[in-house]
């Protein structure tokens, strides 16, 4: 099976389901950011915890995606490609372990666009995820970034 044939199925079969799942995954930070602004006294602190843990899990997940793509490289994974998958995982640990919400938000706000940018580069090189994945991932990252920035702004006020 050549590459053209092999790419047909993902392009036709996956995007709709992937898009639905991806946008569903964006809902928790969006709702959390709204709660932080609308109900700060009752729910603010608890919702911030949920949002930060969710952000950390997302970064670890995106690292895993890169690892999965690296494993499937023709000829096997390279050390560099595997390391590229592990860096987001390592970045996510302080989000779970630190007490300081300011630093935890900052890591998420820096890591999410950085990972998207690097994934876009990998796709352009032909060694990353397919175009349609980033077509979903880019607006999703923007949505999540707006949510995290909104919650971060509340923290600073």
């Amino acid at each position: 099976m050549n590459d053209t044939t092999s790419n047909t199925m993902p392009q036709q079969g996956l995007p709709q389901s992937a898009a639905v799942l991806a946008y569903a995954a964006a809902l928790p930070p969006i709702i959390a950011a709204l709660l932080i602004w609308l109900r700060p006294a009752e729910l603010g602190a608890q919702t911030t915890q949920l949002m930060l843990i969710y952000g950390g899990a997302l970064i670890a997940f995106f690292g895993g995606v890169r690892w999965g793509i690296a494993v499937m490289r023709p000829g096997g994974p390279t050390f560099a490609s595997l390391t590229g998958g592990i860096i987001p995982l390592v970045m996510s640990f302080p989000i779970f372990l630190l007490e300081d919400n300011f630093t935890r938000f900052l890591i998420i706000i820096i890591a999410l666009p950085l990972l998207l940018w690097d994934d876009l580069r990998a796709t352009r090189r032909g060694s990353g995820a397919p175009d349609w994945y980033l077509g979903v991932r880019a607006p999703l990252t923007i949505l999540m970034m707006v949510s995290f920035l909104a919650a971060f702004a509340h923290l600073l006020t």
Binding site: M1, T47, L50, A60, F62, G64, W67, T83
Partner: protein
């Protein structure tokens, strides 16, 4: 790859060791932090492996696409199991049950990968590695859980 995988196991192994050497060699206060650490670490690894499962299905040059919802559902289970009590929507579970749930999620993620290998979606060598790492990680989580049960409380 094996070295990186083995490095990822170290926190599980050290945590299980620390728990079983408490209180003879490790202070009880340290053991309490270890329980929190290993449950968070287990959930992060679950998120990572769910991502790896999805990534393998997204990779270029592959012949068969798949549905990656099961991995994401498992990730959600691990996420709620590790969610601290002070967070909204956290589930009031005892630590030993949280750890058992995360161990279960790791095993199920491995099963998903092994199924993908049987369908030639993932390479054979990856399955051997995943199986070994999952067995050790989940055993360590269950050992921590067992130690808490034997104590009566964390």
């Amino acid at each position: 790859m094996t070295a990186l995988g083995a490095a990822g196991l170290l926190p599980f192994v050290f945590s299980a060791g620390a728990m079983w050497f408490t209180p003879s060699a490790v202070a009880l206060e340290v053991a309490q932090s270890v329980v929190i650490f290993v449950s968070v670490y287990g959930a992060v690894i679950a998120a990572y492996l769910a991502g790896a499962n999805a990534g393998a299905r997204l990779a270029p040059h592959r012949e068969q696409a798949g549905w990656f919802t099961p991995g994401q559902l498992l990730l959600l289970i691990a996420f709620f199991a590790a969610l601290p009590i002070k967070a909204i929507f956290s589930i009031p579970l005892v630590a030993e049950l949280r750890l058992a749930i995360i161990a279960f999620v790791l095993i199920m993620l491995c099963v998903l990968d092994l199924r993908a290998i049987r369908k030639n979606t993932l390479p054979q060598w990856y399955g051997t590695l995943r199986l070994g790492l999952t067995m050790i990680a989940s055993t360590c989580l269950l050992l921590v859980s067992l130690r808490i049960i034997l104590w009566g409380s964390p």
